[in-house]
């Protein structure tokens, strides 16, 4: 193991993967319980369109994707709170439009399909040092937001109307959560790819929620499931030459299956 970890690219892959994995799980618990589990899916499709646009214009894909995803997240929040669209309808609209725009741009401008494939399926073993720092910064930011607004986030997730009646700025908090999810999706594309990043926002959270006996436990167990999935996925991918992003998601799915089985056995 020590020999394995002496590889610089593997260290970077693990560091970025663990930071992004922790953030996905933390945000995922709030999103899943708010019945917003498909938010990551919608935002990832918008990221696909942004990456296709950036590749066509030959500019930095991550920078363009960040701008577009954050703008889309704010638009999504506006549609849901001010225009009265139901949450999943707004996500469905953005998701389909994002995917269609991505395919349209990729086809029309004949972008480099290899480069696009790297974003679609992730390229965790080619993580750059700056991407590790970006992931660390995001993890710190999300950690601080969750710590400082823990009660308000919990109240918003449990009962948004009562939270608003107690004076919490629920719209502002909801938009913040959506924007953080957008940034996470963009930075997570290098780790697990556009197609699978939303899985890391849903599956570890769903695994933790099966066995948690309190909200704090749910956060802790979801983060643990995510970190174990990332570590096992990256190491297995390296050792057996498996695709890293798919292996990470499949390990997370395994944790979910085990936690579901454990819950059912306790009931029975």
């Amino acid at each position: 193991m020590a020999a394995l970890l002496s590889y610089g690219f593997l260290q970077r892959a693990l560091a970025a993967g663990l930071f992004i994995g922790a953030v996905c799980a933390l945000l995922g618990v709030f999103l899943v319980l708010k019945k917003d589990a498909m938010l990551g899916h919608g935002l990832s499709h918008i990221t696909f369109a942004a990456v296709a646009l950036a590749l066509a214009l030959n500019v930095l894909p991550l920078a363009v994707a960040l701008l577009v995803a954050v703008a889309a997240a704010m638009g999504l929040s506006w549609l849901r709170t001010r225009a009265g669209l139901h949450g999943d309808t707004a996500i469905g609209i953005f998701s389909s439009a994002g995917l269609a725009l991505g395919v349209f741009l990729a086809s029309l401008t004949r972008v480099n399909s290899t480069a696009l494939l790297h974003y679609l399926f992730g390229e965790i073993l080619a993580i750059e040092p700056v991407e590790v720092w970006l992931a660390a910064g995001l993890a710190l930011l999300v950690g601080l937001v969750v710590l400082s607004s823990y009660r308000s986030l919990l109240y918003l997730t449990f009962d948004a109307e009562s939270a608003r009646a107690s004076g919490i700025k629920t719209r502002r908090l909801d938009t913040l959560l959506t924007v953080l999810a957008a940034v996470t999706v963009v930075l997570g594309t290098k780790v697990v790819g556009i197609l699978l990043v939303s899985a890391m926002m849903v599956i570890p959270a769903a695994a933790g929620l099966q066995i948690a006996r309190s909200f704090k436990q749910a956060l802790g167990l979801s983060v643990l499931a995510s970190l174990l999935s990332v570590t096992a996925g990256i190491l297995a991918a390296f050792l057996f030459d498996w695709p890293a992003s798919a292996t990470i998601v499949l390990v997370a799915f395994l944790w979910f299956g085990l936690s579901l089985a454990w819950k059912q056995s306790r009931r029975g």
Partner: protein
């Protein structure tokens, strides 16, 4: 902050509200005084819940003024002074992973003076609120696994955790059996008498008027009665309610 009529805890002055073209509240004026235990009665769709939501600033009145402790509701900031119990008993997601203590503590607010409360003090306040509703032994139970009546007690504890001066309850006994309802009303009457908490209870249950409340407001788009419970029992509004000869307004809220 502009103040007016400081003797009223809540002052509604000519409040009107419509969902689209459907008028729900028509020029309602109502004063809620400190120490009141007010039952807000009315048929389905009469605007009771809408009025509660306007007091809580969850909805904005189309016309009229709403003052809380003399302050316009849109400028009011001390929401810890107001406890709200929604109509949620039995509707909690059974798999939501929040313990009873976490459900109560999520409402703990920083006081208006801005000082941060310490963790130990918060735990103490959560324990106190749970003791008030008789759930002190259930701190670690999951909220979704409790009965409807127990969940409602947890929501009341959550509403009481900031030591509010006003408690607003929206049909809190819906889906709760008769015996539990009786205990529930006794408990509210205790909060009103012993803790001095002003209570506004939105209910269909006309029986509650006889034993527990001090004031009654009858709503059916307009305020058709507001006065003491003794006068209410002799009023036309009471006879109309008993005989069922009332105009029902149909709308969604």
């Amino acid at each position: 902050m502009p103040k007016s009529k400081p003797s009223s805890l809540v002052s509604l002055q000519g409040v009107s509200f419509a969902y689209g073209r459907q008028l729900v509240l028509d020029s309602v004026s109502l004063e809620i005084q400190p120490g009141d235990f007010l039952a807000m009665l009315g048929p389905n769709g009469s605007g009771k819940t809408t009025l509660l939501k306007i007091i809580l600033h969850l909805l904005e009145a189309d016309q009229g003024r709403v003052l809380i402790q003399g302050c316009p509701v849109d400028a009011f900031r001390d929401w810890g002074q107001i406890g709200y119990v929604p109509q949620k008993a039995g509707q909690v997601d059974p798999y939501f992973p929040a313990s009873v203590a976490e459900t109560v503590s999520m409402a703990v607010r920083r006081p208006a003076n801005g000082r941060r409360r310490r963790g130990a003090f918060e735990r103490q306040e959560v324990d106190r609120a749970l003791r008030l509703v008789g759930l002190e032994g259930m701190t670690h139970r999951l909220i979704g696994r409790l009965s409807g009546g127990q969940q409602q007690r947890v929501f009341i504890a959550r509403a009481l955790v900031n030591r509010p001066s006003l408690l607003l309850l929206d049909e809190p006994t819906t889906g709760v059996d008769a015996e539990t309802q009786e205990h529930f009303y006794d408990m509210l009457a205790g909060f009103n008498r012993q803790e001095g908490i002003t209570i506004v209870l939105v209910t269909h249950d006309i029986g509650v008027v006889d034993k527990h409340v001090s004031r009654v407001a009858c709503l059916n788009q307009r305020l058709t009665y507001h006065g003491s419970h003794k006068e209410f029992c002799r009023s036309e509004a009471f006879r109309e309610m008993i005989s069922g000869g009332r105009h029902l307004v149909s709308h969604r809220h």
